[in-house]
Amino acid sequence: MADQVLFELKSVSKHFQVKNAGVLKAVNGVSLTIYKGETLGLVGESGCGKTTLGHTMVKLYKNDGGMITYKGRDIWDFNRRQNMNYHKNVQIIYQDPYASLNPLHVVRQSIAEGLEIHKLYKGKKRTERVMELLRMVGLNQEHANRFPHEFSGGQRQRIGIARALAVEPEIIICDEPVSALDVSIQAQIVNLIMRLQREIGLSYLFITHDLSLVKQISDRIAVMYLGAIVELAPAQSLYEHHYHPYTSALLSAIPIPDPEVEKKRKRIMLSGDVPNPINLGGGCSFRSRCPKAAKRCELECPQLKEITPGHFAACHFAE
C-alpha cells in the first residue's frame, strides 16, 4: 500500500430534515482515510448511511459538518477547473447499471460521454479508446452499437465499469456493484474489478452489505451502523479479532455454505431491528440491540479508539 493519501474525511456529517418528523442523521461524524492503490470496504446494513457517504464524496450532497479533502484540499474549495478535474478523478458505479445507463444511447455513446465532457481523446482516437475500454471489461467491439436493454445484468455492469474507467479516474466508489447480480456472475465482476486495480493501480471505496464479499477484495474494512463507523481495521485483522459487538453479530449472522461448519458455529442473535434513525438521542446508537449495553452507553457516545495498531473500534468495552 502506497502511503499517499487520496481522501481524508474528518468528522463528516450529512443530516436530512424530514418533514414533520425531525432530523435524520444519515452520516454522523465519519472520519476515514483512503490511501492510493487500496480498496477500502465499507460495510453496513440498509439504512446505515453508507450510500449517503458515497454520494457526499462525489459531491452529490454537501456535507453539513466536517471536512472532506482530496489530496490535501477541501473538495468544496475547488475552482471550476479543479472541480472538473475532481469529477474526472473520482468516479462512481451503482448497484443497478440499467438505471444508470441512458436507454436511448448505444453503449458507445454512453462510454464516450465522459470523454466528451472532459475533452479527452479527439476524433478517431476516441473511438479507439471506447473499443479499448470494451476490451478491458471483457466485452467486444460488436457490443459498441447495442442498446442497454440488449445486455444481461452482468454485461450492463461491465458497461458501467467501462464508463467509469473511460476518463482515467484515480478512485472509483463502487456502491453495491454486484448485489443485483446472480452468484455465478458476481464472481466474474468482482474479479474484473480486482484485475483492473492490479493493471491500472486504481483505488476503490467498495460499499456493500456483504461481509464475506468484502473480505475477498478489501485491504481495510470499515463497519458502519446508523451513520457512524463502529469499527475500522485491516481486513485480516477484522476477521480474526472484532472488538465491536455489532461487528461480531454481523459476522456471526452470515451463513456459511457448509452444514458441518454451521452446526459448530455459535450464533449471536441480535434482538429487534435497527431503530428508527430519526431523532436518535445521545449515547451509543447500538445500545438498544447490544448484549453488552450498560448505563454508560446511554450517557456517553463511544469514540473510535485504536485497540491494536491500525485497528479501531467505537465501544466502551473494547480493549
Partner: protein, 341 residues
C-alpha cells in the same frame, strides 16, 4: 417417512409472442413429512415457476405441458380451480420475498391473518382473534396484542416477514413454500428469520420447501437439496452429500464461486464463465455445457442421464460419470467433488 408431495416430469412453458419459453423442462422432486428441502438456482432457472405451478398459481401465458403433481395421491395438474382454491393457504401455503407487496396496506395485519384463517375455517370473530394471537406468539412477536393492530407500514421488514409466516401457517398447512424468504432482509434480520423457521420445525408438522439462490441459507435449513439449472434438476441429494461431495460441475461453480467468510483473505474468486442459456431455444444437450470447463463432445448433443452415487439418493445428471469418461476425468472428479479438499 410418508411422501406428501411428489412431482414427476413437470414441464411448464410460457407461450409468448417471441415463442415458447421452456421454463421448466421435466422436473422431479418429492417432499416428505416434516422435512425441509431446498431448491437452489439462479434467477431464471425455473425454481419459482415450479412451485407456483405446484401451488396452482401459474398464470397466462404459462401452461403445464406434461407431468404430474401428486399431493397425497391426488394429481393437482388435473385438479379443478375450486379444488386448488380449497388447498391454497389451507393445506399448501406460500411466503414470498417481499412481504410489503403481498400485504394489504390499508388493513391491520391482525385482520389480514384472520382473513386467511376464516377463508378455510368456520369460526366466530373471537375464535379467529384468538387464533391470530396464538399464531403471532408462535412466530415470536414480542407483544402480539399490540402488533396485531398495526398496519404493515408501521412494522419493520423483519416483522412484516413474520406476519407473512403467520398468515401462511394460520391454517396449519401440510407444506409451506418459502420463495426467497430472506433475500430482501438484512443479514442480522435474515438470521432471525432462519432461526424462527428452524425453531418452528419442532413445534409444528409443516414440511418446508425453501427456494433460494443462497447456499449459506440452504446449509442452515435444509435436509435435502435440489440444484436447478435452466429448467432442470441437475443434482439432488442429502444436504450433507451435496455440500461435501458435490457432483455436478454447476454445483461446483455455485459452491466455489461464492465468497466465504471462512475463506482466506483477499484474492481472485472462482467463477462460472458466460451466462445461462436462453430458454426460448434451450441447447440440445446439457444446458450447462457451454459454460462448463469439463465439457466433452457428447455434452453438446445429448442430454446426460442421471447417475446415482453412494447412498441411493444422491444423483447428478452429468456425462462425467459415464463409464467411458469416469476414468479420464477421475482426478477432476476427485478434486472438485470434495469440498474439504
Amino acid at each position: 417417512m410418508q411422501t406428501l408431495l411428489k412431482v414427476e416430469n413437470l414441464t411448464v412453458s410460457f407461450f409468448t409472442q417471441a415463442g415458447e419459453v421452456q421454463a421448466v423442462r421435466g422436473v422431479d422432486f418429492d417432499i416428505r413429512q416434516k422435512e425441509t428441502i431446498a431448491i437452489v438456482g439462479e434467477s431464471g432457472c425455473g425454481k419459482t415457476v415450479t412451485v407456483q405451478t405446484v401451488m396452482g398459481l401459474l398464470s397466462n401465458p404459462g401452461r403445464v405441458k406434461d407431468g404430474r403433481i401428486l399431493f397425497r395421491g391426488e394429481d393437482l395438474a388435473k385438479a379443478s380451480r375450486e379444488r386448488l382454491h380449497a388447498l391454497q393457504g389451507n393445506e399448501m401455503s406460500m411466503i414470498f420475498q417481499d412481504p410489503l407487496t403481498y400485504l394489504n396496506p390499508t388493513m391491520r395485519v391482525g385482520r389480514q391473518i384472520a382473513e386467511a384463517y376464516l377463508q378455510h375455517n368456520k369460526a366466530t370473530r373471537d375464535e379467529a382473534a384468538a387464533r391470530v394471537l396464538e399464531i403471532m406468539r408462535l412466530v415470536s412477536f414480542p407483544s402480539p396484542e399490540r402488533n396485531m393492530r398495526a398496519y404493515p407500514f408501521q412494522l419493520s421488514g423483519g416483522m412484516r416477514q413474520r406476519i407473512m409466516v403467520a398468515m401462511a401457517l394460520v391454517c396449519n398447512p401440510v407444506v409451506l413454500f418459502a420463495d426467497e424468504p430472506t433475500t430482501a432482509l438484512d443479514v442480522t434480520i435474515q438470521a432471525q428469520i432462519i432461526e424462527l423457521m428452524n425453531s418452528l420445525k419442532s413445534k409444528i408438522d409443516t414440511a418446508i420447501v425453501l427456494i433460494t439462490h443462497d447456499m449459506g441459507v440452504v446449509a442452515n435449513m435444509a435436509q435435502r437439496v435440489y440444484v436447478m439449472y435452466a429448467g432442470r434438476i441437475v443434482e439432488h441429494g442429502a444436504a450433507q452429500d451435496v455440500f461435501e461431495n458435490p457432483r455436478h460441475p454447476y454445483t461446483w461453480g455455485l459452491l466455489y464461486s461464492i465468497p466465504r467468510l471462512d475463506a482466506p483473505g483477499k484474492g481472485a474468486m472462482e467463477f462460472i464463465p458466460g451466462t445461462p442459456p436462453d430458454l426460448l431455444c434451450p441447447p440440445e444437450g446439457c444446458a450447462f455445457a457451454p459454460r462448463c470447463k469439463h465439457a466433452m463432445n457428447i455434452c453438446a448433443v445429448r442430454q446426460p442421464p442421471k447417475y446415482t452415487f453412494g447412498r441411493a439418493e444422491h444423483c447428478a445428471a452429468c456425462w462425467l460419470y459415464s463409464e467411458e469418461a469416469k476414468k479420464t476425468y477421475a482426478d477432476v472428479i476427485e478434486k472438485r467433488g470434495n469440498a474439504n479438499g
